[in-house]
């Protein structure tokens, strides 16, 4: 049935259809709608689940872990500081191989305090042993809630699963979403069966400690399971297509990359704008393409290498920065290219931080820059900050008033923290190393 749903609501519908048995969550903007809808579903009996009103995110994931250890299907949801607050428990859940599903509303991290979307929260936690997927739209959000359990609970994987939705851009934006019937969902997703749980007949000790002589084996097993998830993801997506008629493309979604000279790699909802831009430039005769990374873990190194093999320039656009280095997605993509011995020039575009809009004009300039990449181009570009002259040499649409976007917030006389400097002059690029 088609319904007009926000991303948060669509995700909640997916959790209902997955028949999650225990939900423990703590509210944080922009995740709140998910837990509100789930509370209503539990209250009305639409969803037969225990809802634990925990007093913190740390407890939210800890309670989910306890419930998962009894063999229950569990769900939690958070965002930003909440995700960071539960970071300790991420490693417990992953190390204990508990297939908990979590929705994370991608949001900026403090300071400065900011409730709007970017991806620094989850990308900062790539190494904590969770599968990480990034949705592009609300239909995918709902579908991922179902597929997440199928993948995470597969005995070959048995690894927790984080579904990321761009804060506000997805969580609070309404779209038409096809909500499957429960019978369909049940046919796709059977109840959770596991031996990784307490057993009254044969008691088990879980979550033990393991010294240096054993630790490496546990870690190797977790690594292998995550790599093994690649195969399971493909199987689950095939089964999903068989049941629901919607097909997902695996770890990455490649768009018009076959003969592309220039490919932009990005993730999340901004891929929609990038796709529109690719179509425009293709119509104008430019050979450009797009890769949307869906799964950051397991990382699609092989898939990226295939999609980028013919490119003469590759850009990575991400809502994240690892200070003093570069965007984390960029680092990962470069590693994949290096492993595949593809010596293609790469540029990193940092945008959308703290909910900042990425305009069509900026997107066009990103592509124009890639089409004319030279040694003078700064390797790490902050859109709207040090992008002066970016893409100037390429044919461009008329510059709209959006250029005012580069205006900086006025320095408040009462701000105790250093306020942003005036628009960075082009010389500032030197600090980041040119190509």
């Amino acid at each position: 049935m088609k319904r007009f749903l926000s991303g948060d609501e669509a995700l909640a519908e997916g959790v209902r259809l997955a028949r999650s048995q225990v939900i423990s969550a703590y509210p944080i903007t922009p995740q709140t709608v998910v837990v509100e809808r789930l509370s209503e579903m539990v209250e009305s009996g639409q969803l037969e689940a225990e809802y634990i009103h925990v007093e913190s995110e740390h407890s939210a994931l800890s309670a989910a872990m306890g419930a998962s250890a009894t063999g229950a299907r569990t769900f939690t949801a958070t965002s930003s500081q909440g995700l960071l607050y539960m970071a300790e428990v991420l490693t417990y859940a992953a190390g204990g191989r508990f297939p908990i599903v979590m929705m994370n509303a991608n949001r900026a991290t403090a300071l400065p305090w900011n409730i709007y979307g970017d991806q620094r929260d989850s990308l900062a936690l790539l190494d904590h042993g969770w599968i990480q997927v990034y949705a592009q739209d609300n239909q995918e959000a709902l579908d991922l809630a179902l597929m997440a359990y199928a993948i995470a609970e597969d005995p070959r994987v048995s690894t927790p699963f984080m579904v990321n939705l761009d804060g506000f851009a997805l969580t609070h934006t309404y779209e038409n979403v096809d909500v499957p019937e429960p019978e369909q969902a049940d046919a796709f997703l059977p109840p959770y069966q596991t031996s990784n749980c307490f057993d009254f007949e044969h008691p088990v000790n879980m979550g033990y400690s393991a010294g240096p002589e054993f630790n490496r084996y546990f870690k190797y097993e977790a690594h292998r399971a995550m790599l093994g998830a690649v195969e399971v993801i493909a199987e689950v997506e095939q089964r999903f297509a068989d049941v629901f008629g919607r097909r997902y493309p695996g770890l990455i979604e490649a768009y018009r990359t076959e003969d592309a000279d220039v490919v932009l790699v990005t993730l999340g909802s901004i891929a929609g704008l990038a796709r529109a831009c690719v179509d425009e430039r293709r119509a104008a005769g430019q050979r450009v393409g797009l890769v949307r990374i869906r799964y950051m873990r397991p990382f699609p190194a092989r898939e990226l290498a295939c999609a980028l093999a013919g490119a003469k320039a590759v850009g990575v656009l991400e809502k994240d920065i690892s200070f003093g280095a570069e965007g984390t997605v960029f680092t990962n993509v470069n590693s994949a290219l290096q492993q595949a011995a593809l010596p293609v020039p790469t540029l990193n575009f940092i945008g959308g931080l703290g909910g900042d809009d990425i305009s069509l004009d900026q997107m066009e300039r990103v592509f124009a820059t890639l089409e004319n990449v030279s040694r003078e181009t700064s390797r790490v570009v902050f859109l709207g900050v040090n992008d002066a002259g970016l893409g100037e040499t390429a044919p461009r649409a008329a510059q709209p008033a959006a250029s005012s976007r580069s205006a900086q917030p006025a320095a408040s006389p009462r701000a105790a923290q250093p306020v942003p400097a005036n628009p960075a002059p082009a010389e500032a690029n030197d600090a980041e190393g040119r190509r």
């Binding site: 634990i52 007093e55 407890s59 800890s62 009254f200 088990v204 000790n205 879980m206 033990y208």
Partner: protein
């Protein structure tokens, strides 16, 4: 309720054995005795701390019942999750107690928030704090249940300070203030009293909290054969007390009901209790007197409840 557990009726079955706790460990005695009462259907959750450090070393795992290590701050939250998970699947046996064993730091410091949350939800769990009055697993650092005057590695006894400068947090009262169905204090020096309280707690639905004093010869500076004796003496001299709180839903009393299980007419010597332990060695006679004065104030309060 089953027949009262005592020296004659207690089972010979062991559920916590083969661990590597220090000689004379009071905490391991508390866990062992509690599990004898709760039986093999108990599911244990233990945070970082002595009992998880000595009992969960793969491949030598020391719980014969179901058990799990939790994040340090999350004992109560994991207990809630276990209980909810069992209930959601309709597979919680009648004789299954979901029980946590956490130390004083894991309870009164880093775990207090999660404990408060679980009591607020009134989840059907039993939380047992084994109180050895410092972070013993990491090598004797001060917690908020370390008593005044105790030397720890972070409250050294020197020229300017003679050990811990703060008073022991009144955790039992803090827990009771939640209106919890059942809370009690105990000491491993009075084992029948402790086991009786474990048994009583297991018979009550909702959140339960037990606070059991469990001396640590390594951290307290006493002989390994003195654990039980000291655990008795701390009660006899009045620096610890045996009490119960039954919340309104259990006692029928608005605001709940406090009961002092032992109200000695005369206390044994505080000085003798302190002076036999290495951790109080630096205390002056005046400081010992102030500890005694604090005891008398505490008892005036306890007797007024």
């Amino acid at each position: 309720m089953a027949a009262k557990v005592n020296a004659r009726t207690i089972t010979d079955d062991e559920l916590f054995f083969g661990h590597k706790a220090c000689a004379g460990c009071g905490g391991s005695l508390a866990v062992r005795a509690a599990l004898k009462v709760l039986g093999p259907r108990a599911i244990c959750a233990l945070p970082a701390g002595c009992m998880s450090a000595v009992g969960f070393n793969f491949p030598q795992l020391c719980f014969a019942n179901n058990a799990i290590i939790t994040p340090f701050a999350a004992t109560a939250a994991v207990l809630s999750g276990i209980e909810a998970g069992l209930r959601a699947q309709g597979k919680k046996p009648e004789d299954c107690t979901v029980v946590g064993f956490a130390g004083d730091g894991g309870t009164a410091d880093i775990g207090l928030q999660a404990l408060s949350g679980a009591i607020d939800r009134n989840d059907d769990i039993l939380y047992i704090c084994y109180d050895n009055e410092a972070y013993m697993n990491t090598g004797i650092q001060k917690s908020s249940l370390t008593p005044f005057g105790a030397k720890t590695t972070t409250t050294p006894a020197g020229k300017n300070a003679h050990g811990c400068l703060t008073q022991k947090k009144s955790l039992f009262e803090i827990v009771a203030a939640h209106g919890i169905p059942y809370a009690a204090t105990a000491s491993i020096g009075y084992l029948p009293d402790f086991m009786g309280k474990v048994q009583k707690a297991a018979s009550i639905r909702g959140a339960k909290y037990l606070h059991v004093i469990a001396p640590c010869p390594t951290g307290w500076g006493c002989g390994v054969d003195e654990t039980v004796e000291i655990a008795k003496e701390v009660v006899d001299c009045g620096l610890w007390y045996l009490a119960e709180y039954e919340g309104p839903q259990v006692s029928g009393v608005p605001g709940g009901k406090f009961t002092l299980n032992r109200d000695p007419k005369e206390f044994t010597s505080v000085a003798a209790y302190l002076r036999r332990q290495g951790r109080f060695r630096a205390l002056s006679d005046e400081e010992v007197a102030s500890v005694e004065q604090g005891r008398d104030e505490k008892w005036r309060y306890l007797r007024s409840l």
